[in-house]
């Protein structure tokens, strides 16, 4: 069992938790993720590491309620425990591999969308601790869904917030903000975009035109997270890769987003869920978060 040390509700449906997991905290780096199971009959839920403290032996995660698994998790409180917590999984961000001297000369732009702000944070913080100030664009549907603004402000170089409805910061999509920064004369050696698949797809489309190398972090459906099942396969540069061992970060200009988006539907979108409800027959007993089958 892994104890929840702290829990915080960030917005209506996004939660933060700090969890005791010394082995993970000791060995993790920005860019990696964990898989947890809330209880002994629960799903294996992959979540990106949002922060960690090697001293306290804790790992922080931020998650959005999208289905039964995340909903159950959100109801847990500090002092409760989760059944399983395994990691760190996947490869760390490439930035953590670079010699510091090289890193110091890099102009880095992060683009975060929605709950993707959480996985961007540890990378920006890690760079900040090494004296590298990166610019960060955070996109949110609306003001109320914006998360981690203060935390991000503390570690980012420039922080540019934009909302789809204009209720806070700039008005528009993150791609507008990228264009604006570039138009104002900013130059970046690398862009790291993390958010919904559709956002990453459009960011990559733009940065390709701008000739800006771009890294994305993919979140396909996973089961084991250790390379055993192949559920997480994505096509990158025409080759099949397993996101849990080869990723989750990939060269965004080489990812087949259309395919990845279709695959993610399998257990996710309304259509996928409806389809599954029909296909799974009575093995569909909730879990889609939609049908109420678990109540």
């Amino acid at each position: 069992m892994y104890k929840i040390i702290r829990d915080e509700k960030l917005t209506d449906n996004i939660y933060l938790m700090e969890i005791e997991a010394p082995r993970v905290a000791k060995n993790c780096l920005p860019g990696q993720f964990i898989i947890l199971r809330s209880h002994s009959k629960g799903e294996r839920i992959p979540l990106t590491i949002c922060d960690y403290s090697k001293e306290r032996g804790t790992v922080t995660i931020v998650f959005q309620i999208v289905g039964a698994g995340t909903e159950f998790l959100a109801n847990l409180k500090a002092g409760d425990s989760v059944q399983d917590f395994v990691g760190p999984l996947g490869r760390p961000s490439e930035l953590t591999d670079m010699p510091l001297s090289e890193l110091k000369n890099k102009k880095i732009l992060f683009v975060a969308g929605g709950v993707g702000t959480a996985p961007v944070y540890p990378q920006v913080k890690w760079l900040n601790e090494r004296g590298v100030m990166a610019d960060v664009i955070v996109g949110s549907k609306t003001k109320d869904l914006l998360i981690m603004e203060d935390m991000m402000k503390e570690v980012a170089g420039g922080l540019y917030i934009t909302t789809d409805d204009g209720s806070y910061g700039d008005h528009g999509m993150v791609t507008n903000s990228i264009q604006k920064l570039v138009d104002s004369g900013k130059k970046y050696d690398v862009c790291i975009a993390i958010g919904p698949m559709i956002m990453m797809k459009f960011v990559c489309k733009l940065t390709k035109e701008l000739d800006m190398p771009t890294v994305v972090s993919l979140n396909p459906i996973m089961v084991d997270g250790t390379g055993m099942c192949g559920a997480c396969r994505v096509t990158v540069d025409g080759e099949v890769k397993f996101a849990c061992v080869d990723g989750p970060e990939f060269d965004g200009h080489k990812v087949d987003f259309d395919q990845a988006m279709k695959r993610q539907q399998l257990y996710k979108t309304n259509e996928g869920r409806a389809f599954l409800k029909a296909k799974e027959g009575d093995t569909h007993h909730g879990g889609c978060g939609n049908c109420g089958g678990d109540q």
Partner: protein, 462 residues
């Protein structure tokens, strides 16, 4: 008594079992076991022992059964095997002990597997357990992976008195025994769990959710005070064919399909894990894994096909599994090979395009090489395709451990006799070394490595 024919074993009716996940084979009762055991001649120079990878003294344990002394029979088996209830169910006996049995020359070989199973089940029901060691050795050994290789190695070392900790990546111990082989062939609660409890009752510690290479590295383990490490991390990543349409929704690896069903218990109403319950399922491959996936899909209500590129004779699965699959209604499309997976515009599977095959000259494996018949393409309707084509090694451990050699396929190199690898204090065995093989070979390797580790640690003291 009919000495030429084996005592038949009771099974669930095919029609009934095709709709449930309860065990297919019901096993012998004591009367049937005694009767079958009496067919054994008790050969002096017993061929069956040669066929057994862990050399169980078969005529001796069967001899005890003849007298109805099941406890004694269990003790004999326990000397050589720590997972007899599992092996009695899943070993390919027809090509091992039973394949060599003298009785098999004229008539049926002795049902050694069923007798082993009976003995182990009896011991479980009667609370007979392996004995923990009297003396402890103050040395720590780390075992990576809790499949048959790891469990056997851990059990043997614990019996010698070592302090053993198993590190397991998943949230449950057992390896393929829990996430791969289905409930209807190997019951999890009554059999696998109990066998694991037996190993743990010897004082073995278990650290779940620990991925060696990620959560902790092998070199860290030595720093933590472990003096030897055994790697039994299994076969690795599932292979795909590389044909068009393979990334469509509805195409799964057998590993994913079986893990959802077995480990996450998707077939059980209380589980929240979804699984595709197709109308028409095509399983590509002909091994045990393919049979298990097909029979699982069938039980979830689908019309199920096995697509295999060679003929029935070459099917690598256990004969019993093929026989059971047929009885239950799995359709075999043999000498058939997929060339493309057909998809809808939305990216879901709608069929599978295949080509007919014929057998040509024998290849390196001695099996006749299948080759496509030109112009023979045809389509099979399907909404789910399960790929069961074998595995390739997982680089997680080898890539994070300095000085650990792998061969050109990426398998860890270890010698057969002692499990020695190229790195001092590190031993390996099972599927991680051989590629996907069998439970009993993995156990044999775990056993050999336990011996190797014992010798190594004794040598270190001098």
């Amino acid at each position: 008594m009919d000495v030429l024919n084996r005592v038949p074993v009771r099974e669930q009716e095919p029609k009934t079992r095709a709709k449930n996940f309860d065990e297919v084979c019901l096993g012998y009762n004591i009367d049937e076991a005694v009767e079958e055991s009496k067919r054994c001649i008790g050969c002096k120079n017993a061929k069956c022992i040669e066929g057994c990878p862990v050399a169980i003294n078969i005529p001796e344990f069967i001899g005890h059964l003849k007298e109805g002394n099941v406890k004694e029979a269990f003790d004999v088996i326990s000397e050589s095997s720590s997972l007899p209830a599992v092996c009695g169910r899943v070993c390919p006996q027809e090509s091992q002990c039973e394949g060599k049995c003298i009785r098999g020359i004229k008539g049926d070989p002795i049902s050694i597997g069923k007798l082993e199973r009976f003995t182990a089940d009896w011991a479980k029901q009667n609370g007979v357990k392996p004995q923990p060691p009297k003396e402890r050795i103050d040395k720590k050994v780390a075992v990576i992976g809790s499949g048959p290789a790891g469990l056997t190695c851990a059990g043997d070392l614990a019996k010698l008195g070592y302090k053993v900790t198993i590190f397991e990546a998943l949230h449950e111990p057992g390896g393929v025994l829990v996430y791969g082989i289905p409930e209807f062939r190997l019951p999890k609660e009554d059999i696998v769990k109990k066998e694991i409890e037996n190993v743990l009752s010897l004082g073995v510690e278990l650290e779940l959710n620990s991925i060696v290479g990620k959560s902790v590295k092998i070199d860290d383990l030595f720093e933590e005070g472990f003096e030897a490490v055994f790697i039994g991390s299994g076969a690795g990543l599932p292979k795909f064919m590389g044909i068009p349409g393979e990334q469509a929704n509805g195409v799964f690896s057998a590993n994913e399909y079986l893990t959802r069903s077995n480990l996450m218990k998707a077939f059980d109403e209380n589980s929240t894990t979804p699984i595709m319950r197709g109308q028409k399922v095509a399983v590509v491959g002909g091994g045990n894994v393919a049979m298990d996936a097909a029979r699982t899909a069938l039980r979830l209500g689908a019309e199920t096909h096995i697509i295999y590129r060679r003929s029935e004779e070459e099917l690598p699965a256990r004969v019993e599994e093929v026989h059971h699959a047929k009885e239950e209604g799995v359709i075999f499309d043999l000498l058939t090979n997929p060339v493309e997976i057909l998809t809808t515009d939305e990216g879901w599977v709608k069929g599978i395009r295949c080509v007919k095959m014929e057998l040509g000259e024998p290849d390196a494996s001695g099996r006749r090489r299948p080759q496509p018949i030109e112009g023979s393409e045809f389509d099979i309707e399907a909404d789910t395709v399960i790929m069961s084509l074998g595995t390739s090694p997982n680089p997680l451990i080898s890539s994070t451990t300095s000085g650990l050699d792998t061969n050109k396929w990426g398998c860890i190199v270890a010698d057969e006799e002692m499990g020695l690898t190229s790195k001092e204090g590190v031993f390996a065995g099972g599927d991680a070394v051989t590629g996907a093989a069998t439970v009993i070979l993995a156990m044999g390797a775990g056993k050999a490595a336990a011996k190797g580790i014992h010798e190594y640690l004794q040598g270190k003291d001098k």
